[in-house]
């Protein structure tokens, strides 16, 4: 039996790209996404390197296309639970969690947020701000329809009777009796585009993350700078009122431990430096680096330009860097090129953390019956031939699920997977 | 095409030619000789009309027609670039044509060549040190007087700034445009003029004619620079006077209050090459309702409407190529100093793009070219006013 429907796991840039190309041919695409919105990690950035284009503006048209496509069935708040069968004939069970808000009736007016009495930390905003129990992760989320967190919603977790959001909605779009669903679909091929995670900064106590309030991860810094973020783009610190006057960006955190270079951190560290120079022209910004990984025709020029803006590049092996703090601020101890110990004070420290496999990689690989490689990412069987096959025919990889790469690499891989799928299914 | 070669050519020597009879007659005899030697097949040159009260462009093949020709004519009733455009718009011809025109006409022709309205292959451009032209209306009222006044520029060897068009008074581009050969009529001691090659093509003509060009150009350059300095000063003063006429909507309205919307200026402008002017098209025609509404809103409505729109629109379309030839002012029935106004604006816009019309055949029009870094001063203005990028 040769089913030509396709399942794509993950609605980040790679998943979106693959889904649009396949949908254009009339094939039915199930785009399964575990969070409530599309766009993956890319929509967390204000701009992308190195052309510094507005990230959300860049992919919003694609996100819209996904929502309006007749051939793409977008299943948000959904995960894959079971996979059986083989290429051309997979049976997949999808666990679709209840959104409690109708995607058809809700028009995204946002009247339901204010009345909700419950606040909780917003993971999308890297816990820098809060959201209500009925929420969209950030302004501009697509689909622009809120979801309700059943663990925190008073009505749903049984703690109290509350109908505040239901009453505020003029369209009757909220249904608190919504139930989780199990959906069974049949597809011919599966594309795993589940993205990446960042290593836990707690694993590097020498940098003081969690201990000193003004040590941030790069993703937190992105959200601070983002115009739709928790501070609407103002660089306000966890401790202290004034914006930082000196900032240290420490690159290569986790490279040694992971055993590979994540290939994008040098570039996004330069991007952060550029952001901050822009926002705080008087601030002193220092990038602590070892190797500069800037492959390809565009990236070195960005490095040059950021240097010209007055950002200070300090060569220092990352395994010799330590961050200390006191009332006055933070102090970075490092060893320079001459192997002499030096100290630098800073108001803010940003850690450029290594990319690692997505949290669900282990469970997903078991479910799908495919292998992980030694680094923890999904194993790419065909790497020597530039292929994106897994150990199971009919299951392919695209994007950072396969390994660290930039957006251009993820898009190319997604398009390559589409090529493979088209060849197999025709 | 002489394009690439012209770009870096700098004339070092010229040929001295004795003036026989008059400067005009001397130039004519050069062309006669060239036609006879078949160096050109035809010459485009101003010729006095039979009634003797104006001049027109004639493409001469028969040397006898040179009888009433005047290479340096007292007036400019038709822009030479327009004549050349009629001739070569549809592509180059197989005949070799020599065209003798004023520097502003040469510059306009080069601008038109960038717009495919003139094709310069097989065209040899000749120019001369231009003393300016008399205002058309002055001349036609009394042609013999006009002839006399103009003649005196040459017999007395003194250019008379009083009688020429206001735009000519402030012209500092009156010598050595981007032509192939240039008649330098200034700065020679005896009764001579200089024939200066200004391109490889021009050199070729002189070689073919057997005319050696070994003479020094420094005397001529000195005289040219002298007059240039004078003109630059006049220009500055003139622009100073023009500026308040055009700054702000109120002043613009006042200046153009007497404009009758005849579009003469647009019709004679060499740079206005459109088949149908945008401002003559359907978009500038509105329903009666619309006019009534406008009248209602403002208390009254002037007819013809949208004069400032036409003037500023025409400015925005052609000012980067404006060569300050003054055709427009010559034909304005309402005596608006339109050439001076447009020259003032053109000076600003051309400065902003670091562009000079007619300076270089190979230099693309600013609109047709993309430069990543330009208008830095504008960028700075915007940044300063916004406070941040």
């Amino acid at each position: 039996m040769n089913n030509s429907d396709i399942l794509i796991i993950g609605a980040g840039v790679a998943g979106i790209e693959a889904s649009l190309l396949l949908a254009d041919t009339g094939k039915k695409v199930y785009l399964v996404e575990k969070t409530s919105l599309t766009g993956g990690n890319v929509i967390k950035y204000e701009d992308v390197f190195s052309n510094m284009e507005c990230s959300t503006c860049m992919i919003a048209p694609k996100q819209q296309e996904v929502l309006q496509s007749e051939n793409i069935e977008l299943l948000t708040l959904s995960t894959v639970e079971k996979v059986q069968g083989e290429i051309g004939d997979f049976t997949v069970t999808i666990n679709k969690k209840a959104r409690y808000v109708s995607l058809v009736d809700c028009i995204g007016c946002g009247m339901c947020y204010d009345p909700c009495p419950v606040s909780l930390k917003n993971e999308f905003e890297q816990n820098l701000s809060e959201k209500k129990a009925i929420y969209v992760p950030c302004p501009g989320s697509l689909p622009n329809v809120p979801a309700i967190n059943p663990k925190h919603c008073l009505q749903l977790n049984g703690k109290k009777t509350c109908n505040a959001c239901v009453e505020a909605c003029a369209f009757g779009a909220i249904n608190l009796s919504d139930k989780d669903e199990k959906i069974e679909i049949k597809v011919g091929a599966i594309i795993v585009a589940s993205g990446f995670d960042i290593v836990d900064p707690a694993g590097f106590p020498q940098f003081g993350y969690g201990k000193y309030p003004n040590v941030y991860t790069a993703m937190e810094a992105e959200r601070l700078y983002a115009s739709n973020g928790p501070t609407e783009g103002e660089i306000t610190l966890r401790k202290g009122d004034a914006p930082p006057k000196s900032i240290a960006i420490i690159q290569c955190v986790g490279r040694e431990q992971q055993g590979y270079c994540s290939s994008v951190c040098c570039m996004y560290s330069l991007k952060l430096a550029h952001y901050l120079k822009h926002k705080l022209p008087e601030a002193k910004i220092h990038n602590f680096h070892s190797d500069w990984c800037m492959p390809g025709k565009y990236y070195q020029k960005f490095h040059h330009d950021v240097k010209e803006e007055g950002v200070d590049f300090i060569y220092s092996p990352v395994d010799k860097i330590k961050v200390d703090g006191n009332d006055k601020g933070l102090s970075i101890e490092y060893y320079n090129g001459k192997n002499e110990k030096e100290k630098l004070s800073a108001d803010m420290v940003i850690l450029s953390l290594a990319m690692m496999q997505g949290k669900d990689t282990a469970s997903l690989s078991k479910l799908l019956g495919i292998e992980q490689d030694k680094k923890g990412f999904f194993m790419n069987q065909g790497i020597q031939l530039g292929a994106v096959d897994t150990s199971k025919p009919g299951i392919f990889l695209a994007g950072c699920a396969e390994g660290p790469k930039d957006i251009q690499g993820s898009i190319t891989q997604a398009e390559a997977v589409v090529g493979k799928v088209m060849s197999y299914l025709s | 095409m002489n394009t690439a070669e012209n770009e870096s050519y700098s004339p070092k020597k010229g040929a001295v030619i004795s003036i026989k009879d008059s400067i005009n007659k001397t130039i004519i005899s050069f062309f006669k000789g060239a036609l006879e030697k078949k160096i050109f097949d035809a010459v485009l040159i101003p010729v006095k009309v039979p009634a003797g009260d104006s001049y027109t462009w004639i493409l001469i093949e028969d040397v006898s027609l040179f009888k009433d020709a005047a290479p340096i004519a007292p007036i400019m009733p038709v822009q030479g670039a327009n004549a050349l455009s009629s001739l070569t718009r549809k592509g180059k011809g197989n005949l070799k044509i020599a065209a003798i025109m004023r520097p502003c006409e040469i510059r306009a022709a080069i601008e038109l060549s960038k717009l495919e309205q003139v094709h310069l292959e097989n065209v040899f451009l000749f120019s001369f040190d231009c003393p300016g032209a008399l205002p058309l209306s002055d001349y036609v009222q009394n042609p013999p007087k006009g002839e006399e006044v103009f003649e005196s520029f040459f017999t007395k060897n003194k250019w008379n700034e009083e009688s020429i068009k206001p735009i000519c008074k402030m012209c500092d581009n009156f010598s050595l445009p981007n032509c192939d050969l240039h008649f330098g009529i200034l700065g020679t001691e005896k009764n001579d003029l200089l024939l200066i090659p200004n391109s490889i093509k021009g050199e070729g003509v002189l070689n073919e004619m057997g005319i050696a060009f070994k003479n020094d150009l420094s005397e001529w350059k000195k005289k040219v620079d002298e007059i240039k300095k004078q003109r630059e000063k006049t220009k500055k003063e003139a622009y100073h006077t023009i500026q308040p006429m055009v700054e702000g909507l109120d002043n613009l309205a006042q200046t153009f209050a007497k404009c009758i919307g005849c579009h003469n200026c647009m019709s004679v402008c060499p740079i206005c090459y459109c088949r149908q002017c945008y401002f003559d098209s359907e978009v500038s025609k509105f329903t009666s309702d619309n006019y009534l509404l406008r009248a209602e809103k403002r208390g009254g409505l002037r007819f013809p409407t949208d004069i400032i729109l036409f003037q500023s629109g025409r400015m925005s379309h052609m000012s980067l190529s404006c060569v300050s030839c003054g055709m427009c002012e010559d034909v304005c029935p309402a005596s608006i100093p339109i050439a001076q106004i447009f020259s003032f604006i053109a000076n600003e816009t051309q400065k902003a793009f670091e562009y000079q019309p007619g300076r270089n055949v190979g230099e693309p029009l600013p609109l047709k070219e993309y430069k990543e870094e330009e208008l830095q001063e504008l960028k700075k203005l915007v940044n300063d006013s916004v406070g941040q990028e």
């Binding site: 790209e17 190309l21 041919t25 052309n51 284009e53 860049m58 309006q68 009736d105 028009i107 007016c109 369209f171 055993g259 590979y260 270079c261 190797d291 500069w292 800037m294 492959p295 390809g296 025709k297 565009y298 990236y299 070195q300 090129g337 680094k375 990412f377 790497i383 020597q384 530039g386 292929a387 994106v388 390994g403 957006i407 251009q408 690499g409 898009i411 190319t412 891989q413 997604a414 398009e415 390559a416 589409v418 090529g419 493979k420 088209m422 060849s423 | 549809k90 717009l115 495919e116 309205q117 090459y273 459109c274 088949r275 149908q276 945008y278 098209s281 978009v283 809103k297 609109l367 047709k368």
Partner: protein
């Protein structure tokens, strides 16, 4: 013929209904009714984008035989397409409709209800005025040819050909040299780091030669490629014999012309070309492939070798991505063939972007290769001995002697890239590589629809990535150029009035898509409807208005604005 304009105001729940006085709007709009020339039907609805609302609209259009439709609701970004699709269900041409935004532009931003209502009325009147000047537009269908031309038979070109060729799709593979396979056929081993050898490549080469849907032309160049996506006319020319030509049509073109190495002779301090036994990485690969040995000019194996990375990196302004890895490979070749050799690798930064690269580096180090990070470096010679003089990252100046020096020069675009770009009307970026349509989201396409770029012709990359590019192009072409299916070009495009065009070609020079061509006979510029994307550059640049946009004519815009500012 009278205009029958249906104007429907959406309440959008409380969003619009609470913020503007819809009753007043309907009253004022209805008052515009001027039978028999202009009939206005004005109604409201609770939620037009809902299924029920859409059905209501379709019904209204048909029932009232509307000639035009104006919807006053939310942003076109949300529902322009929704309502166009409603029109498509009826007899009303979807381009005779206008969506007026009275939500984001009025209800959501003006607190005063009266003011918001006034503005909404103005907007709607403007929309009605505009819509009466709109013209019906229809989608066109173009036949497309599924076949593909691949230029360059290196590994990227070969992979593209294999991925694309099929029963219903022929691939023409053109190569200017006499053999296919490109640079990779000269490597003893290829990366990644399983030490994969050339069998894989040879299999691909054989596969492409045996594939009956791929026609290979060697010693051939592309002379002409004229047309547009779905329909390119190609002329090939034999490089030795001008007369020998081949002509055919394809639907898409893939540029896989590869790369060259920067000439290190341009940087005198490396001594290349001046001193003996200084080689480029490619020279070592080639001689190693031929003989299986890496020897000095004297015929002896080198006792010491210095491998210098980053040659030309600063001068070119970019990192060539692949050299660090292949230099580790070369170091490993040397260690394998000459176990006692002393190897020192000099680098500025280690570029190890792939998952397994760091391990490969560590393995190479563990095999006894010394790695030195340098700030400055030069090759000097004293009598017969060569020295590497270098400044380390700590500022210390040192020197070391080496019998053999191997340089990793920057990767440059292949010769003839400029000519190729002109031929195909695509651009080169400032580094000289072919420019992709979008740096992030569209790396294998160019600004010309149907012309694609893969491999190192686009950006220096390794073999797996080049092959990945090739498959990405296959993904694009297999989904967009389907045998038997028609192409539907953009509807809202530009048009140039023949009567008013003076042939100045200003529009042509500002068109980024090569969508305008000049007709020499008529002396006018003409828009190619199949290529035009409707960006409007030509419209803006044309002084006479001869170039106009089909759905954004000056008249339409003027009339809309005039009504709006009344």
């Amino acid at each position: 013929m009278s205009d029958k304009i249906g104007v429907y105001v959406c309440e959008c729940g409380p969003n619009i209904a609470d913020k503007v006085d819809i009753k007043k709007i309907l009253a004022e709009i209805s008052a515009l009714n001027e039978p028999p020339e202009k009939i206005i039907i004005a109604k409201k609805h609770k939620l037009l984008c809902s299924k029920e609302g859409q059905d209501f609209l379709a019904d209204e259009i048909t029932k009232n035989e509307l000639t035009h439709l104006v919807i006053a609701a939310c942003s076109p970004r949300d529902h322009d397409i929704t309502f166009m699709n409603v029109c498509k269900r009826t007899d009303l041409n979807p381009y005779l409709y206008k969506l007026v935004n009275i939500r984001e532009h009025c209800a959501w931003i003006i607190p005063d209800k009266d003011e918001a209502t006034e503005k909404a009325i103005q907007y709607i009147r403007a929309g009605i005025s505009r819509v009466t000047y709109q013209a019906p537009l229809t989608e066109k269908e173009l036949d497309s040819i599924p076949d593909v031309l691949v230029i360059g038979a290196g590994i990227a070109g070969i992979e593209a050909s294999l991925s694309l060729a099929g029963e219903n799709r022929k691939v023409y593979l053109v190569e200017k040299t006499s053999s296919i396979g490109g640079k990779v056929t000269k490597f003893e081993k290829i990366l990644p780091h399983q030490g994969t050898d050339l069998d894989i490549i040879q299999e691909k080469i054989q596969a492409v030669q045996e594939n009956e849907n791929i026609e290979i032309f060697t010693e051939t160049e592309v002379e002409k490629a004229i047309g547009f996506f779905g329909n390119f006319e190609i002329t090939l020319k034999n490089i030795h014999n001008d007369e020998q030509k081949n002509e055919f049509k394809v639907g898409a073109i893939v540029v896989a012309t590869g790369f060259n190495l920067f000439n290190p002779g341009k940087i005198p301090r490396y001594g290349y070309g001046k001193m003996e036994d200084i080689y480029t990485s490619m020279e070592i690969e080639e001689s190693n492939f031929k003989t299986g040995k890496i020897l000095l000019k004297s015929g002896n194996p080198p006792k010491s070798a210095a491998l210098i990375h980053c040659v030309g990196r600063e001068e070119k302004g970019y990192c060539s991505r692949v050299c660090c890895n292949y230099m580790f490979k070369i170091a490993q070749y040397l260690k394998e063939k000459i176990p006692t050799i002393k190897i020192t690798e000099f680098y500025q930064d280690l570029c190890l972007p792939n998952k397994a690269d760091q391990k490969f580096f560590v393995d190479t180090k563990n095999k006894g290769v010394d790695f030195i990070r340098f700030k400055d470096i030069a090759v000097k010679q004293k009598e017969k001995e060569k020295f590497i003089e270098y400044t380390k990252i700590d500022g210390k100046k040192e020197k070391i002697s080496a019998e053999m020096i191997i340089l990793a020069p920057a990767i440059e675009p292949a010769d003839g890239s400029k000519g190729m770009a002109e031929l195909l009307n695509i651009s080169l970026d400032e580094t000289g590589f072919f420019q992709e349509a979008h740096q992030k989201l569209n790396p294998v396409a160019t600004s010309i629809d149907g012309v694609f770029i893969v491999g190192s012709a686009q950006n220096p990359k390794n073999i797996p990535d080049s092959m990945m590019d090739a498959q990405a192009v296959a993904g694009k072409i297999l989904t967009q150029l389907i045998p038997g299916e028609k192409l539907i070009p953009e509807v809202i495009i530009s048009e140039i009035s023949e009567a008013f065009c003076t042939g100045c070609q200003t529009c042509l020079s500002v068109c980024s898509y090569g969508a305008i061509y000049f007709d020499e006979d008529k002396n006018i510029s003409i828009v190619n409807e199949a290529i035009c994307r409707g960006c409007g550059n030509c419209v803006a640049s044309c002084p006479s208005g001869a170039a106009h946009s089909k759905h954004f004519t000056s008249l339409q815009i003027y009339q809309e604005v005039l009504e709006a500012i009344r």
